[in-house]
């Protein structure tokens, strides 16, 4: 079996805030070209795990491999330098700035002493077009004038600017209408199809099934399963989220009655390679 190196590979991650243990011995992998959905109840540790990945909080213990190499990430800037971007739930856009300014905020292109506005505008328009996003109006309109879906799109476009390898989306459709959710889901899928590793945090099981290749389920700070979406049912994922285990999924893995044999084992860290069929 040939192997694809995961972009993100976290092993045995522990994190406590003072006396409160939040993550306990968590393994997590994300592959290029795939959407990995991170699911779990409130307080399961999803956001903390993402913060660890993005360098917003430090791991207490555990290994962090990026493209197979051990790395130490202690600040968001270091994560960003590796190509890891987070689109937060609140999007963190500046309302008074236009689309281009928002996309290049903090990393403006310069020509000599002055900003290269023409270049930035062109790149911004290219990226939006490349995401097959139709923005009504110009890339120079302020973001306060945009709809929820458009704002989400700008935030995602900002995340994929440059050489992003990992894009983490925290509940991207939580504040959106139905049509906009649809567009954002298709956009999320396109990002992965273009080779990025996408990590999607979502409570909406339908969104998870619509776009994900793998599902990682956290339960009370532990990673209870990281499975291929093609191998699980809705009911099984709900069990994993609410009870931390799924009888039918385990039965299936072991080849006992209760379903057709699944293609791979249940535990994270032993996730089968996805890209190539066995020779």
């Amino acid at each position: 079996m040939s192997t694809v190196t995961p972009v993100l590979d976290l092993r045995g991650v522990h994190k406590s805030f003072g006396p409160v243990a939040v993550l306990h011995d968590v393994d997590f992998v994300a592959y290029p070209g795939e959407v990995t959905a991170l699911v779990g109840d409130n307080g399961a540790g999803k956001t903390t795990l993402v913060k660890c990945i993005a360098g917003i909080v430090r791991l207490d213990r555990g290994q962090y491999l990026f493209e197979g190499r051990p790395v130490r990430i202690t600040t968001p800037r270091e994560a960003s330098a590796l190509g890891i971007e987070v689109v937060h739930q609140d999007l963190a856009l500046c309302d008074n700035l236009d689309i281009v300014q928002n996309m290049f905020l903090g990393r403006e292109r310069r020509r000599g002493m002055v900003l290269d506005e023409a270049e930035m505008e062109e790149v911004a328009a290219d990226i939006l077009a490349g995401l097959s996003v139709r923005m009504s109006g110009s890339v120079r309109q302020p973001v306060w004038a945009l709809s929820g879906g458009q704002r989400q799109t700008v935030a995602i476009a900002r995340a994929v600017l440059g050489d992003s390898k990992v894009v983490i989306l925290d509940e991207p459709s939580s504040a959106l209408g139905v049509t906009q959710t649809r567009q954002v889901l298709e956009l999320v899928r396109r990002l992965a199809d273009r080779g990025m590793a996408v990590v999607l945090i979502s409570h909406n099981m339908n969104d998870v099934f619509a776009v994900s290749d793998r599902i990682a389920a956290l339960y009370l700070g532990r990673m209870v399963a990281q499975v291929r979406t093609a191998d699980v049912t809705h009911a099984q994922v709900v069990e994993l989220i609410t009870a931390g285990r799924s009888e039918t999924l385990e039965a299936r893995r072991d080849g006992r009655p209760g379903g057709r044999r699944s293609a791979g084992p249940l535990r994270a860290g032993a996730v089968p390679e996805a890209a190539e069929p066995p020779a």
């Binding site: 889901l185 298709e186 339908n206 099934f209 619509a210 049912t233 699944s262 293609a263």
Partner: protein, 420 residues
């Protein structure tokens, strides 16, 4: 006797077609890129390009966005999108669309008209008459042709139809949702246009499969299945890069695969067909909504999906049931064809995004682990234009097979006067 190898002339025709197809599908390309991709040397590319340029099919020019590299930018070969076009007709149950599509796949102009729907009971409402439909299509096409001007040449035409069509003579054999009563639509339309090009008639979902394979979600995927939802459910299957047509061209009628033996009655006379279990009428019926001549099916389906997403339990239950049957059907298809991708188009795009959990759960339990492992489920990247784009691609087939000859014939022959 041994068959002689292809003649010089055949090789040249083949190469002209290959070059034109490359820029048609992949967009403007430099001679170097063409040489590399077509496996021909640069002097051959130069000769082919000048032949195509002389025929008015391509032109060479500087790239539009200047390269950032030093040195003189190389010329790119660009298809003559505004001067060489086809007419694409898309006959939906609710709407008629006619577009002028330029070489390179650019939709240059389009006309759309809503169609009054024939009520399920059979009571006709206005536009049920196939003559009226052809009138509307011909009028729209003529207006597009007029606007194109004399400089532009129409090199083909094709019509996407929601029914099964015999390949040998383009006869519509069965269209339960849109009866044309044995009319040879292609011939009639071709006569009415008087452009000297035949109007090919094809199954809409088959064309959708071609479109998504060439320009949509399935680019580079040689084994894919396209599922199209309109009033009915159609399908197009591509295996080994080719559309599966079957003996007569009726292949890929996925909508009439029985997923629920003894289930709902289908317009084809059988019971429990995929179309009967997941089609628009069933979804609306389960959601407790009426089919209305005023609301096009697409909008009605979207309204149910929207209501479900907002938490309407009746709509949600309807969507989940439809999703479950759809998932069963997809599981069977995955087992039989081992596709690399299944694409949901038309109204099924909305159904997929709204019921993915049910659909994929069924695939996870119903499809063999090995077969389902790598299948990708995607929505149609061409959106509502999938079948229209497919018709255009089909219409370009002749000119791409023999570019110079076809063009010479069309420009040489004086167009017959259109039949009013």
């Amino acid at each position: 006797m041994m068959k002689a190898g292809p003649s010089q002339e055949e090789i040249r025709r083949h190469n002209l077609g290959a070059l034109l197809r490359f820029v048609h599908v992949r967009g403007p390309a430099s001679r170097a890129i063409l040489a590399e991709n077509l496996g021909l040397n640069r002097s051959t590319i130069m000769a082919l390009t000048s032949d195509l340029t002389a025929a008015g099919l391509v032109r060479e020019e500087l790239p539009r966005t200047p390269g950032r590299r030093a040195g003189r930018p190389s010329l790119v070969v660009r298809p003559e999108s505004t001067r060489v076009y086809v007419l694409a007709f898309d006959v939906g149950v609710d709407r008629l669309t006619v577009a002028r599509v330029g070489l390179g796949g650019v939709i240059l102009d389009r006309r759309e008209a809503a169609r009054g729907r024939v009520a399920a009971s059979g009571g006709a409402s206005g536009a049920a008459d196939p003559n009226e439909m052809v009138n509307a299509l011909a009028a729209a096409a003529r207006s597009l042709v007029r606007k194109a001007g004399d400089e532009a040449t129409c090199v083909g035409a094709a019509l996407a139809f929601p029914g099964i069509v015999r390949r040998s003579d383009d006869q519509v054999m069965f269209g339960p949702n849109l009866d044309v009563g044995g009319m040879a639509i292609g011939e009639v339309l071709s006569r009415r246009l008087g452009l000297g090009v035949p109007v090919a008639v094809c199954n809409d979902a088959n064309l959708g499969a071609i479109a998504e394979h060439e320009r949509g979600a399935g680019v580079g995927v040689n084994d894919l299945i396209y599922l199209h939802g309109d009033v009915g459910v159609g399908g197009g299957i591509i295996t080994g890069g080719r559309l599966l047509g079957g003996e007569d061209g009726y292949g890929g009628e996925i909508g009439h695969m029985v997923v629920n033996p003894g289930g709902r009655r289908c317009a084809c006379g059988s019971r429990g067909c995929l179309e009967a279990e997941v089609g628009e009428r069933t979804l609306l019926d389960l959601a407790g909504r009426q089919e209305s001549p005023d609301v096009p099916g697409r909008e009605a389906v979207r309204a149910v999906v929207d209501a479900a997403a907002r938490g309407d339990v009746v709509a949600r239950d309807a969507l989940h049931r439809v999703g479950t049957w759809l998932g069963r059907g997809v599981a069977d298809l995955v087992n039989i064809f081992n596709p690399g991708m299944v694409i949901f188009g038309g109204t099924l795009r909305d159904v997929y995004l709204g019921a993915a959990a049910q659909i994929r759960s069924e695939v996870a339990t119903g499809a063999l682990a090995a077969s389902r492992e790598r299948v990708k489920l995607r929505t149609a990247a061409l959106g509502d234009d999938t079948t229209l784009v497919g018709a255009a691609e089909f219409a370009f087939a002749d000119v791409l097979a023999d570019p110079v000859q076809v063009l010479a014939r069309l420009r040489g022959a004086p167009a017959s006067a259109p039949v009013p």
